[in-house]
């Protein structure tokens, strides 16, 4: 080929942290706390719904369903979110199903971000936001959460990482089209408070900016905290697209069923992108997820609800990992939500010396070394920062604790052994 074969829109977005680290974990790790997926089984009621759908009389479940979402699924999602948002929702126009929350995000950016638009992204951020904004021709504008460690020397909480209101306000310009909010936040686990959301909402309304609200971890909230949906705040419904995920809600990341909820005047444009790309999502998985939601609607707030049981179980795992890491000298930041935990590894720097002028941030090198020599996989925090800010926080790594007890025990053993090696050397 004499001229470049690939389109310019792919410039700079070919690298991907997951491709690199998933490969490393597959090759070297004995205990994988890296990529965010559960290694425990999904709930029985969900896999049974899938099997029932397969074995049932209706073989049309193997064929195309409604492009914008299988009717039973959009109907139950509308019912559920009507409850949660306190507003009447039309399943046909206020809900759309996508191939995972990933594709929901893709539709948001393609539908709403034009060349020259600015999009505010809060750091640290789930890594796909940046390349998706760029692919849409937009310019990402970053604003960091800043750590304010507690004075009493206690372990930090994700709540201690905060936006500076003046700094946030300064990022809004007349070119700002949207802000991406992720609460509960991956990787920190921060659950934005009503006050913090109110601040963002005020700025959105003042500058007429849209809000893309990634709430895939909405059910994974600990210590009695409450997940607040920004779309329910004053002036926000009309300008917010809320993204959700069956993969995270029901521990079936491999089913790739996600959705968006929002006003018709925004969703109509997402529908246009969807019908000109993926067009339909797999029918059977939608059917089973619909049944899962119907069950949860019946059991809402009750102890048997999966949305009550899962966070309870995960909170225990969180506490277990926190103890484990604290015990060996890694300083965990206690997450208020999600199944991720970030830990400060500065006390382990002797194992992986600093290399001045290295093109890789310290935490990348540390994490790679840890996978290869300790068999324990985690993800470097600078993976969740823009290129310009990768070197701001290089002493942190992210662990995923949505794992079986046996996996967490094995992780603990590796950490204990490591500590012993350090104290004896």
């Amino acid at each position: 080929m004499s001229r470049p074969v690939q389109a310019r829109r792919l410039e700079g977005i070919d690298k991907n942290i997951w491709v690199e680290f998933v490969k490393l974990a597959a090759t070297y790790s004995k205990v994988n706390l890296g990529q965010g997926f559960p290694d425990f089984p999904p709930p029985d009621f969900l896999t049974e719904a899938f099997t029932r759908a397969l074995g049932g009389q209706n073989h049309m479940l193997h064929q195309y369903t409604r492009a914008f979402g299988h009717p039973p699924l959009v109907t139950v999602l509308a019912q559920f979110f009507k409850k949660l948002l306190g507003r009447d929702l039309d399943p046909m126009t206020n809900v759309m199903v996508t191939v995972g929350a990933y594709q929901a995000l893709f539709c948001c950016f393609q539908a709403l971000v034009d060349e020259g638009d600015e999009v505010i992204i809060i750091e640290p951020f789930f890594d796909c936001y940046e390349p998706m904004v760029r692919m849409a021709g937009g310019t990402p504008v970053f604003v960091p959460l800043r750590p304010n460690p507690p004075k009493d020397g206690k372990l930090m909480s994700s709540a201690d990482w905060q936006l500076d209101p003046a700094e946030l306000a300064s990022k809004f310009s007349e070119r700002t089209k949207a802000i991406v909010l992720n609460s509960p936040n991956n990787p920190l686990g921060k659950v934005f408070s009503r006050g913090e959301l109110g601040l963002i909402a005020e700025l959105c309304v003042k500058h007429d900016v849209l809000c893309i609200s990634d709430e895939v971890y909405e059910w994974l909230v600990y210590d009695g905290k409450q997940h607040i949906r920004i779309a329910s705040l004053q002036g926000m419904w009309d300008r917010t697209v809320t993204v959700g995920s069956a993969g995270k809600t029901f521990s079936v990341t491999g089913w790739k069923v996600g959705w968006v909820v929002g006003p018709d005047r925004l969703l109509q444009h997402l529908r246009t992108v969807h019908q000109n790309s993926v067009y339909h999502c797999a029918t059977i998985a939608q059917e089973a997820v619909a049944q899962g939601f119907q069950r949860e609607l019946r059991l809402y707030g009750k102890p048997e609800s999966y949305f009550v049981q899962l966070p309870k179980e995960l909170q225990q795992k969180r506490d277990w990992l926190v103890q484990s890491l604290d015990g060996v000298g890694m300083k965990p930041i206690i997450p208020e939500g999600t199944y991720f935990l970030v830990a400060d590894i500065s006390q382990f720097k002797s194992d992986v010396p600093d290399v001045p002028n290295s093109d890789e941030p310290y935490d990348y090198r540390f994490a790679k070394w840890m996978i290869k020599s300790k068999g324990l996989a985690a993800i470097p925090l600078s993976a969740f920062y823009s290129e310009a800010h990768k070197n701001n926080y290089t002493n942190f790594i992210r662990f995923c604790f949505a794992k079986e007890e046996a996996t967490l025990k094995a992780a603990n053993e590796i950490l204990q052994k490591w500590k012993q090696e350090k104290t004896s050397s």
Partner: protein, 380 residues
């Protein structure tokens, strides 16, 4: 509404869609739906069984390897599309910022067509469409909606032009197994000089009658596929795991018996051939002129000799759109208007045709038979 909540430029004009329009209208259960291309026959049982087995394996409900979209077309490029065309090609080319350049298949026998083989490209006309801006040509064989199976000679003409102008070929071969007696599906990627410039697309939905699984694939040289991988990792990232696993198992079953007549790839096309012949017969008896397809599961029909007068219908739509809506309302039979598959210049050429889908169970075809036999008993 504040102006900033407008859609992005890339989706300007792409909001209307023939499927959204017609699936709504045909959704009434009293209508015999031969419109949208989806089987109402059951997929093979072993395909469903493989999925049932897989669903019980826990780790197969989580993410798998990321890879499994044209990232090759950019603003200012031209992409050649053969008309009539599967409707998504045009908006997808436009969404990539490129310009679609159309070339029609033309009927050999002066409009009197009995077979999909009668529809051909004019080699000189095709050559004229290529220039220095031409980035790619989209080929669809077996062809939706006409059912044409491009011959080796026809593919060679296209290949020669691709090589001469250093053009890519996006070859949509989703109906590759649905080829009828006497015809052979030839992959353009196997022609000399074509492997390195072709991306071949396939579909589990069409291969195994499971359109609702939404699994497809691209095959091609690494240096082209790697760009598709970048798009994939920035859009969907992964495809559903249990479905991919079950599909792999099903493929192994049929791969091992490729020479056996029971192989699904052969048994399905045999089953469909008899449905094709039945459909053609019914349409002829109703006074219509079907174009018998060499492949695929669609059949186009010239409805002009029925002389249905729709001039009083107010809408500014092509004749075939109005005809299909009238047919759904008065005959309870649905099809898809062919001008949905054309660029603006050729709509007049194709507006006397409608498309029927015949991958339907016998009872559906029986119901269609009743309607077609009684067609002339009611004046439209």
């Amino acid at each position: 509404m504040p102006f900033r909540h407008k859609n992005t430029r890339r989706i300007e004009g792409l909001d209307s869609n023939v499927w959204v329009e017609f699936t709504k209208v045909a959704a009434d259960p009293s209508i015999v739906n031969l419109g949208q291309g989806l089987p109402d026959i059951s997929p093979p049982s072993y395909v469903k069984e493989e999925l049932a087995k897989v669903a019980a394996v826990d780790r197969l409900n989580q993410y798998t390897r990321g890879f499994g979209h044209p990232s090759l077309v950019k603003e200012g490029d031209e992409v050649i599309i053969i008309e009539p065309f599967y409707d998504c090609y045009e908006p997808m080319v436009k969404m990539a910022g490129a310009k679609p350049v159309f070339i029609p298949l033309r009927c050999k026998n002066d409009g009197n067509s009995a077979s999909s083989a009668d529809w051909v490209l004019d080699p000189a006309e095709l050559a004229n469409k290529f220039n220095s801006k031409t980035k790619a040509i989209i080929l669809n064989t077996p062809h939706n909606p006409i059912g044409k199976v491009f011959t080796r000679e026809e593919l060679q003409v296209i290949a020669d032009l691709c090589i001469k102008h250093d053009t890519l070929c996006i070859s949509d071969e989703v109906y590759e197994w649905l080829v009828y007696k006497g015809k052979k599906h030839i992959k353009i990627a196997t022609l000399p000089g074509m492997w390195e410039r072709t991306v071949t697309i396939g579909s589990a939905g069409k291969t195994y009658s499971v359109t609702g699984w939404k699994l497809g694939w691209s095959i091609g040289p690494e240096y082209l596929i790697k760009h598709l991988q970048v798009v994939h990792q920035n859009t969907l990232y992964t495809c559903p795991t249990p479905l991919q696993e079950a599909l792999a198992q099903a493929f192994w079953i049929d791969y091992k018996r490729m020479d056996d007549p029971d192989c699904y790839f052969h048994s399905l096309s045999r089953e469909l051939e008899s449905k094709r012949d039945r459909m053609a017969q019914l349409l002829k008896e109703a006074g219509l002129k079907p174009v018998v397809p060499d492949g695929g599961y669609f059949m186009i029909v010239d409805v002009s000799m029925l002389n249905v007068d729709l001039s009083d219908v107010d809408e500014k739509q092509p004749y075939d759109y109005k005809f299909v809506k009238w047919m759904i309302a008065s005959k309870k039979l649905s099809a898809i208007p062919l001008s949905a598959f054309c660029g603006p210049e050729t709509k007049k050429q194709f507006e006397k045709y409608i498309r029927f889908c015949f991958i339907k169970k016998d009872s559906t075809l029986d119901a269609a038979e009743v309607i077609l036999k009684n067609w002339n008993k009611q004046t439209g």
